[in-house]
């Protein structure tokens, strides 16, 4: 079992924390019908990271995060500009912005591909959860060993801080978020500043996506922004319960997905390891499928259609 602590404990924890924080924000994205902003932002993290590497020449985490953050900011500004000034419909504006920036990222990557950078498209999409090994984690006792703890992969601390930030953000702005999501005009009239809260939400989405991206790849981020919250919406009609359910479902996807990917093939006597990020995303989709089929609140309410 010492294997588990060394190889799996940290990736599993990171996957769980990442999934929980993405799902938390996802509740509001789904309610605002802005789910795809998470998709757009996770696509542009790659170009940001490539650009920061080309400029600074290092793969230091801080430089990469800043690069990804700048790329996310540019994308959001671009989407708004295209939408407002060009009068282009929101989803099309999003499609224009993130594909163009992603294309730029791939071009930069391939252009300098020969220089042997440890960066590639697949890596960015799939993540490398499995490589987050805790070398000093020789057993459960290492959890109490200060020296061993110092050797924990830095991604763990990073996603934890971001998760904390997400929680603080939601606690502080909970009322403004709910009012702005439900009725933006009323929110403006009572000075709940929906535009500012909207922007902050997008910034939080970007921060979360970037921290998660580096640890777990972008595909898990997109799935977690949407699937748990969407499933939870079909399970309850109460916002508080929806958020709680989204957390439960995200946790289930993360833990079960990781275990299935790592140990599942072994159960069938196959010698292969599957992508944990991909498996977690798949599982969250299966949960959504179940919610769509059996969720007690899967249908719209009658009067709401009118």
């Amino acid at each position: 079992m010492s294997d588990f602590v060394m190889l799996s404990l940290v990736p599993m924890t990171i996957a769980a924390i990442t999934c929980l924080s993405c799902a938390l924000l996802g509740n509001f994205l789904v309610l605002r019908r802005q789910s795809l902003i998470g998709d757009a932002i996770s696509h542009v993290a790659l170009p940001g990271i490539v650009a920061s590497f080309l400029i600074t020449g290092t793969l230091a985490a801080s430089a990469m995060m800043i690069g990804a953050g700048v790329a996310a900011l540019i994308t959001v500004v671009m989407i708004e500009l295209i939408k407002r000034l060009g009068q282009v419909e929101a989803s099309a504006a999003m499609g224009v912005a993130f594909t163009a920036i992603f294309a730029l990222g791939v071009l930069m990557l391939e252009w300098h591909g020969a220089s042997g950078v440890h960066l590639d498209v697949e890596h960015a999409l799939y993540g490398n959860l499995e490589s987050l090994i805790w070398f000093e984690g020789l057993g459960w006792h290492s959890l109490f060993d200060r020296q061993a703890l110092a050797d924990l992969p830095p991604q763990l601390a990073r996603v934890s801080w971001v998760a904390l930030l997400v929680v603080v953000f939601l606690v502080v702005f909970r009322r403004a978020l709910v009012i702005g999501s439900f009725d933006a005009e009323f929110a403006t009239s009572i000075k709940a500043r929906p535009a500012v809260v909207d922007l902050l939400l997008v910034v939080m989405v970007a921060i979360t996506a970037i921290a998660a991206f580096e640890a777990a790849g972008s595909i898990i981020v997109i799935a977690m922004f949407i699937c748990p919250a969407a499933s939870a919406r079909l399970l309850t009609n109460h916002l508080g319960q929806q958020i709680a359910w989204s957390q439960v479902l995200a946790l289930i996807s993360a833990l079960l997905g990781y275990v299935l990917a790592g140990y599942g093939p072994g159960w069938f006597g196959l010698d292969m390891s599957l992508s944990a990020a991909g498996m977690i995303a798949t599982l969250s989709g299966l949960i959504l499928l179940l919610a769509c089929l059996f969720g007690p609140y899967r249908q719209r309410d009658g009067a709401a259609r009118a």
Binding site: L31, R174, F186, I190, A192, A303
Partner: protein
């Protein structure tokens, strides 16, 4: 316009001057001046696309204005928003939102609750009280998606009531509601007026203007007429606002509904 100079504006719950709003290159509201008399119940009237809702939204800072000045009790809206309660059009929100009736009414208490404060029983009681004023206390725990149009409108009104503001601005409160709800809403509005509150209301049913309101503002992009109902709500002004689209029979009925009723009797 200077608040210090003009006493009428200093006491008016909402005074707009030279307000122009445009979507693209076409003005939706052009250079409208209007001073809401305190304690009045004013209807904003005009044909479809006349800029009635736009005027209100621009006054409340929801829509950006191209030019003009807005004062609430003589000061800019941003400083005075506490004194204004706004009831948007029912159709402007997604009623599939996961919230109960009580949740929506509590939104009206946003300003009273800082982020570290929890919602207490006192707040819940306040919300229940305003729900009972619109006859919806039995629906407090009901999902908002399950309400009828009239019930939705009552909930919106309750949310504004809980704000306890001096000026209440309503956008088409009677659109698509049942007769009982219309009557209930009018009762609530009249009781507010009796307590000295001011009401400003986009209204589309010309036949009920005289029954419900004491002041009118007729607009069709520009201001056509404004003043007490018995002065400003004239057939000439209506013809101008509606661009001659009202027949004489219609006009007679609107201007003098009592005569019409006696005729029928």
């Amino acid at each position: 316009m200077n608040a210090a100079l003009d006493p009428e504006i200093a006491v008016s719950p909402l005074a707009v001057h030279g307000l122009t709003v445009s979507y693209g290159r076409k003005p939706a509201v052009y250079s409208v001046d209007f001073v809401t008399p305190p304690g009045s119940m004013t209807a904003i009237i005009g044909p479809n696309g006349a800029g009635k809702s736009t005027l209100l939204k621009a006054a409340l800072g929801i829509t950006r204005r191209l030019s003009g000045d807005v004062r609430v009790f003589g000061k800019p809206y941003a400083e005075q928003s506490r004194h204004v309660a706004y009831v948007p059009q029912r159709s402007s929100v997604d009623w599939d939102f996961p919230a109960t009736v009580l949740d929506v009414v509590m939104m009206g208490l946003y300003r009273d609750l800082r982020w570290w404060q929890l919602t207490r029983r006192r707040h819940r009681e306040q919300a229940m009280q305003s729900l009972s004023r619109v006859g919806m206390e039995a629906f407090a725990e009901r999902q908002i998606g399950q309400l009828s149009g009239g019930q939705q409108q009552r909930v919106f009104l309750a949310r504004a009531l809980v704000q306890d503001a001096e000026l209440m601005i309503l956008d088409e409160p009677f659109a698509g509601v049942d007769a009982a709800t219309e009557k209930a809403i009018v009762e609530v509005l009249k009781s507010l007026k009796a307590r000295g509150k001011t009401l400003l209301c986009v209204h589309h049913d010309l036949a009920t203007v005289r029954d419900y309101f004491d002041h009118v503002l007729l607009i069709n992009v520009r201001r056509v007429a404004a003043g007490p109902v018995h002065q400003a709500f004239s057939s000439a002004a209506l013809q101008e606002a509606y661009g001659g689209r009202l027949s004489d029979v219609q006009l007679a009925r609107i201007i003098c509904p009592a005569a019409h009723l006696t005729q029928r009797a």
